[in-house]
Symmetry: none
Subunit: 239 residues, 4 copies
DNA sequence: AATGAATGAGATTTCATTCAT
DNA sequence: AATGAATGAAATCTCATTCAT
């Protein structure tokens, strides 16, 4: 009652603000802990107890901040998607005006976010049961949204004559897929490629299909990453 | 070995043969039921009871045919992989000698198997926890194996000068990924594309990046599927 | 009907006799198999399937000869008790007239039966739950019956003045217990004693408490087995 | 160790202490309930549900305190053995210096512990399957340990010339066996004997075999319990 | 705000028993 | 007489969620 009275007296109550801040901090702490265990163990294997232990709090507390396990899982996934939303556009902006440079920057940023949350990315592919229809839809919509920077870059590039006249949505989604592949099929790619090589390679392959034939010469440095490395010499001397 | 020798010695043991046949049939019935529920509900959500109900048998019976839930899940997944192993090579052989035709046939066959087991394909991406290391390795190895026809076709095509000198393993795996995409991101692609269009499109995109520039003219029919359909007229008059 | 008519015609039907014989043989085969697995694995661990496998027949067949698992278990136990009933009295008869000799023979025979069915003996101590009241009573009564030869020998020995005037029933039951001990606490006794030594030892201990003091000298050979072996008897005379 | 050090450092953590206390109390409650049902029904027959019902808690709770059924069973058995370990030595100490008095006290104490946990004692004889090798060994070792007071008393008595020079280990184990008999063969002994009579009787029988002949006269009160009560001893001399 | 003991539904697995062939 | 596929009840164990403190 005393606090309530205070609040009534001054609407810009620092108490409330502090409380809000603590709440956010707690949320973040729990979210991070959840992400950590889920990424370590694999989502379904993770019990609420495990999350609580990881965060060094009691199980009960989690329920004060998240409605239940589903909500927590959803929050973990959305957290990754938020990283896309904030990282990719920034990278594109920083990349200058050249369409290919911009695409390379966007794709690279995308891949790096995935590398950062490699295991959590896989979670997206396992959500089906746990999440309810609403949660699933939200994730899907958000995911589509995260491809918008790529779509924009592609569209601009087509209009500028740098790219062939492809369907930007489809190509963007394909880029998202091969980026996810680093997480989904990590066991396969890590056999032969480092993360950076994989990104370069995939980008090169994609650009080969995208760039207007007569523009190719300008982007050789992007394009040759996917050439077979075992027979490199025959090309180099001639050029 | 021993049984085979016995059978050879006395070819007529109709009893044993009939029993084997019935056993196979039951296995298949249970496998199908399992696949059906798993595809419908999503693997982890599926209890043995649910499988039993779907197959209209008792829970106990499943354990006569499969060692446990893991083994059943593994069997469902391997079943899909076996379909690849038998369908794709046949399609390649039937396709003639042209490298691009062969690649198109292989990719198309691959996609059609996925379409046939769309949901079961998704299971492969969720096996993580349930399966033990042995099972997981088996699946991975088998999956890599199923890309071998694509690798072969690519290699031949490169040697024949039809494709650019890419890394065949990597490109094959990328093709596998975009084929899987039809299952993994079905909710996205089905918005704008039919299955056949999607296959054509993906193939076209890939071929644009693969075919040697001076060979392009010969494969126009494969290549134009990924051109933007919204502005079709500008292309037509020229040709 | 035809067979029935035949039976009516000649009451000493060889067919029926043969059938009875086969039935007995089967029963025995199944019983032996059951005893073997139970003795090997330990009763509750034993499934009907295991018994069937051991006997190389189908599960179903067991139910034709025994009402169920309980009945089978009961039969296995009774089988051991029958061995007592037929072995012990014979050994006593073969032992001559001396009470101590007779007791030694009876106890030795008892112990040897237990050694023969060591694990099955333990079963008797685990029947509790599985068997119904009727079965349990039957076993108990039969067990008491198997001590009768010992009781008889003791009573005669008391009347003949060879044994002290103890309660024969109680002493007989104690002898049964230490005989069972070889099965129940085999892990303990086998550390330090062979079967034969154990029997001799136990007999010696018991006789020390039983034989009339003034008769002792006559039975030295039975009595010294339990003397401490570390201090050879040569010490005694001196004191 | 660590906790102990901590407690020493800050002796006042009433919270933790209270929690520990409550935990102990619960453990004890569950253990008692388990013992009660197991003693009533017979160990294998006992489901976790039954234990939970008996203790008036939920099944899940038992798993908070005991790792599983095995661990619970083990705890029940160890609980009995702990009673031996604390009761028997105390009884021996309280018995004075006379070897026979001490043996009588030890055996009596042993028997009373068994009477207190009559049914739980039987469990020891049924543990075989359920318990793992480690648990079984632990029980065996503990059981052997509980005979040490008897062994000590016997050894001292032999050295003092009160007992014949027997193997103390073997005789001690035999005493343990006849003590267990009250539990194992309760249905038999209770027909004719009260608990106290049974103890006296068994002790008398054992002492007859143990006490040095020329010491007998001093211990008549222990020795005559096993004389036949039906024919009063006054008759014997005449015959 | 925070704890963690307690709940109880539900999942996997086993196995005695039946019954059509 | 014999088989063994099929059943289904029961047992163990896990874990999301609640609630008294």
């Amino acid at each position: 009652m005393n606090p309530a009275a205070l609040e009534a007296a001054m609407p810009l109550d620092p108490d409330r603000a502090a409380r809000e801040a603590r709440k956010m901090q707690r949320s973040r702490q729990l979210l991070d802990a959840a992400a950590r265990v889920m990424e370590r163990e694999g989502s379904h294997a993770v019990s609420m107890q495990a999350v609580a232990d990881e965060a060094d709090v009691s199980v009960g507390l989690i329920y004060r901040y998240f409605g239940g396990k589903d909500e927590l899982l959803l929050a973990v996934i959305l957290n990754v998607l938020e990283d896309f939303a904030s990282t990719v556009p920034a990278a594109v902006e920083a990349a200058g005006d050249d369409p290919v440079e911009r695409l390379a920057a966007a794709f690279g940023a995308y891949c790096r976010v995935i590398e950062r949350h490699r295991h959590a990315t896989v979670l997206t592919y396992r959500e089906s049961k746990s999440l309810d229809e609403a949660g699933r839809r939200r994730i899907k919509e958000y995911e589509v949204e995260t491809t918008q920077p790529l779509v924009g870059v592609l569209r601009d590039g087509i209009d500028a004559g740098a790219f062939r006249p492809v369907e930007p949505e489809m190509v963007a989604y394909n880029l998202l897929l091969v980026a996810h592949a680093w997480a989904l099929k990590h066991w396969y790619f890590e056999r032969t490629l480092s993360f950076e090589d994989c990104v370069r390679n995939q980008l090169s392959l994609a650009l080969h299909g995208l760039i207007e034939p007569r523009q190719r010469r300008r982007y050789t440095r992007f394009l040759e990453a996917s050439e077979r490395r075992s027979r490199p010499s025959t090309v180099a001397p001639g050029s």
